[in-house]
Symmetry: C2
Subunit: 343 residues, 2 copies
DNA sequence: CTGAAAGCGCTTACAG
DNA sequence: CTGAAAGCGCTTACAG
């Protein structure tokens, strides 16, 4: 009986409630009660159980507990591009908020492909998560329905499709995009451009369409540059191409701060443009870098704190009678120096 | 019997293997086998089971499975400051790598306090994780020992303490810090400074000490600025203070890219210094922003891909006979323009 | 290849 | 307040 691959010496077993009960001289049920808040148990036996548990290094097995109780305490977060400033911040807030509410967070890194989202949702089902929050990607209707059918709460962030039963959270992209257009026009900018990526998520599409529409309503056409990933490099490329034209824009709304930083670097570092005098730039997300001295970007802030708080609350309490599950959050404007103040 | 807080209509239950067996006309065991790779089962009954499972929307309950098998398939990642560029990237790689290896990742957002790390490790035990990876914070010896005792693999990243049984992964901070000093001196910089935060993690301390030591060995003293969080703002502040002195440095090693970006902004945007002619800057981590046009920072790359791959492998296979579990990774230098090339 | 049976570690009515 | 008992949904020898 050799264990060639076993680096650890100990037999490695957990103490069970059974053993704790024996050592404490109480019943198995008593042990359970000692670890169930609000259960009826005397101070005396609780103390005995706790002593025995400490001595044995006992930890309640939440897998077994989840089997009996309705809830497992697991919440799944389906997300792609975790390394991205906006998503990592949201993830940070969400995971902390859920933990404070006594939940444990499972992260399913889905990547871009829809297939992966489906796999993630299946994991969600396998581990009997109480809820799953989809931050990226669009789940197939069928698998999403399975989650719903099995009693999971399903929260979708910034998705276009609304399955019945699903809770939809979104940011008010339309309002922000329109505000951006207004800001530019009021400050006297006239040659408007928009920079976005080739990725067609509902959020990005909405920002583009509403910016173009709002400008159009004021008689101004918008040059749309669209390409690449939703990343700094695309912004740099887009900004460079736009500024190399014979009639370069004097204002650009970048649909994301990452893109905006690229645009700013193209304008300032590559073309020597003064910001905001010669060109104005507005972004979206309010990532940390937007506040860095080299950028100082005027942008719209993702209300990550609100979103996290609201998500946790709705997962814990459910939807109140008559209350709509879905909700739209405002993205407040953050004024910095990349847009001229007025005329 | 009113359910005032219940937004969902369905009774919300999962199909069990029992029901699948009944519908398929086979035994309960057969259903189990159909979902166990390598189990002995005929093609015929497998087909029947799969059809019934699909019809009922059956998903194996991994909680129950984990109760029987030795493994739960859960890996815990204990981490603080998820929103930080370096950690979010590491998290991204680790979670993807584990998923590809068939594991599921639980993220325990620990924050800075040691207490939280302890709570996180307890969760790890409650959910019977197969392994836990500590990316931030230092676990109390006692609870770490509990994890080890219960058969968990415990991987510590860049920690100083080495419990027996623990697997320690670290980056070669000493070598990088010494390289930074050499680079500066060889290029002719003479007034060296170091910028670090007030946070005393083993990595940051090692980078500081070895940089100072290497410079000292060449007869050069290092001005050490230490303050605040490990963040951009601290770098900005440190850079500003250093450059305002009567004898400002002409080269600074910032112990982290976030700090380095702050130093660069202080130098270039606040003091109008030309980089690298008037001042050289080196960072550590190679975060995305280091490659942005506004920074173009020479730095050392965190080998996140290697770390992730190695972590997954060691969790899956264990430590080979005679092989040391611990390991040090090189952090390769990434040449950009923030340091002069030679004299 | 297949089924009946024991058992993983817990919770929760049910009686007392 | 307390214990004996049933049961959650699975896996895995054990016989056939």
């Amino acid at each position: 009986m050799e264990h060639p691959k076993e680096g650890l010496a100990r037999p490695a077993t957990f103490a069970s409630a059974q053993e704790v009960a024996r050592l404490a001289g109480v019943s198995r049920s008593a042990v359970s009660r000692a670890f169930t808040p609000g259960a009826s148990i005397s101070e005396d036996t609780r103390a005995k159980v706790e002593a025995a548990a400490a001595a044995l290094g006992y930890h309640v097995n939440h897998l077994a507990r989840g089997l009996m109780r309705q809830k497992t305490g697991i919440v799944c977060l389906v997300v792609a591009d975790i390394h991205t400033p906006y998503l990592s911040r949201l993830l940070d807030h969400l995971s902390r908020a859920f933990q404070e509410a006594g939940k444990v967070v499972m992260v399913l890194n889905a990547g871009r492909a829809a297939r992966n989202v489906e796999d993630a949702l299946r994991q969600t089902l396998n581990y009997r998560a109480d809820a799953t929050i989809v931050l990226s990607g669009t789940p197939y209707r069928s698998i999403a329905q399975s989650c719903l059918d099995s009693g999971q709460r399903l929260v979708l962030l910034n998705r276009a499709d609304q399955l019945p039963g699903t809770i939809n959270l979104a940011v008010d992209n339309a309002r922000a995009a329109r505000t951006a257009a207004t800001l530019f026009l009021r400050a006297g900018y006239r040659r408007l451009a928009l920079v976005t990526s080739a990725v067609g998520t509902p959020s990005l599409t909405a920002r583009r369409d509403h910016f173009v529409a709002a400008a159009g309503e004021n008689g101004v056409a918008v040059e749309v540059w669209q390409g690449g990933a939703t990343a700094y490099e695309s912004g740099l490329e887009g900004g460079t191409e736009l500024l190399a034209r014979s009639e370069p824009p004097d204002a650009v709304f970048a649909v994301t701060d990452l893109l905006a930083c690229g645009v700013l670097d193209a304008a300032r570092r590559r073309f020597g443009r003064r910001v905001p005098e010669e060109i104005g730039v507005i972004g979206f997300d309010d990532i940390e870098q937007a506040g860095w001295v080299s950028y100082d970007l005027t942008t719209f802030a993702q209300p990550v704190e609100d979103i996290a708080g609201w998500t946790v609350r709705i997962v814990a309490d459910g939807v109140e009678e008559g209350e709509e599950g879905s909700r739209v959050f405002e993205a407040p404007l953050v004024w910095r120096s990349s847009v001229a103040r007025r005329g």
